[in-house]
Symmetry: C2
């Protein structure tokens, strides 16, 4: 399984970082030459990529890297906002000291990479690490993993959104505020903050105009 998993991770990474742009054709024969493997295991990989919406399969025509679907982004942020509001409420009444320390440590590392150029990957990874840690500390890592399976569109949207407007500092500060609210158990302020943190700017027309080449035309 290792070789197929490796190919899949490679392709996922290239799609998520937009190194493979939406609309790019992924030919089975081309990929089989690139990875020096036959078409059969490659088809397994492409099938799974399609199931997770990384690609679309057009029968007898080809496999194409999917365009970013803003409807999916909106739905996922609604889901996460609702869920994380509840998770933080749970955490505020049961968060252990070790957990708090872990979250603080992630925030420290995240602050360090804000200044550096070309390190947006590290920042985004630490952003995920922060949210994931919240899920795990609340006993909800299962749900984090579930969401990841439908996260292609959101992850690409987030990357483009951050490239455009340099708001890394603001995001970091919101994480910081979130932790403070958690410590002081001011649960009533957490909901609105999470909502702003995840769903702000979702309907920005500015974004749609700037990156229309990457976007799904559907609706």
């Amino acid at each position: 399984m290792s070789i197929k998993a490796e190919i899949m991770n490679t392709l996922k990474h290239e799609i998520l970082t937009l190194s493979l742009k939406p609309g790019t054709i992924l030919s089975e024969t081309a990929l089989s030459e690139r990875f020096q493997i036959s078409r059969t295991p490659l088809r397994d990989v492409l099938k799974q990529l399609a199931l997770e919406s990384y690609t679309d399969i057009y029968p007898k025509k080809g496999n194409m890297v999917s365009y970013i679907d803003l409807e999916s982004v909106e739905q996922i942020t609604y889901l996460r906002s609702t869920l994380e509001k509840e998770i933080l409420k749970d955490l505020s009444s049961q968060l252990l000291l070790t957990g708090l320390h872990e979250l603080k440590e992630i925030l420290e590392r995240q602050k360090e990479v804000i200044g550096k150029e070309n390190d947006i990957d590290s920042f985004l990874n630490l952003d995920d690490a922060f949210h994931r840690a919240m899920y795990r500390l609340a006993g909800r890592e299962f749900l984090w993993n579930l969401i990841q399976q439908s996260n292609v569109h959101y992850l690409r949207y987030r990357r483009l959104h951050m490239l455009k407007t340099e708001k890394l500092e603001g995001i970091w500060k919101e994480h910081q505020t979130l932790l403070e609210l958690l410590v002081h158990k001011e649960t009533e302020k957490i909901g609105p903050l999470i909502h702003h943190h995840l769903r702000e700017d979702i309907h920005s027309l500015d974004f749609q105009e700037n990156f229309s080449e990457y976007l799904s035309k559907g609706v």
Copy 2:
């Protein structure tokens, strides 16, 4: 694609109705004879079933119908409970008359099949129809479909749970109450009701003892 989709629906139905019991071996060659098709397209189907946790693939050993994982059931009910609480809050401020009529109609049909023997399938389908309609009316059908992709364990748990204890009447009444709270916009009472509706009895040891043969032993 039609033929493969048909095979997949058949197998999914047999697994969900427990006609294919957890632990049953699904051999590629046996299935290829049954459906009169070669192994290649059948592998596609089995791959997708495994991805949705209907089966587990043990490399070089075989495909096996998955055991019911109660951890998954607990996580999914937490997700649904949280999400539907929010969705009903949204609905209470924007529900149209046509939508209300639709929900009432589903409830009427559901009441009709309560008495009849051997019609638990119809009852469960209408149960899904009711909840799904809520998602759709709130513009969240996308999330309903997302949850369905990870719903095998919950759906089988629900079926067994209802076979054991005849609580169809109670479930129907909760739906009825939900509608009334919605109409009268008593949003503060909806949360606890949804929680009870979806998550009651989740940790019942009675269930685990009665159906241990169907359950995953993990943890």
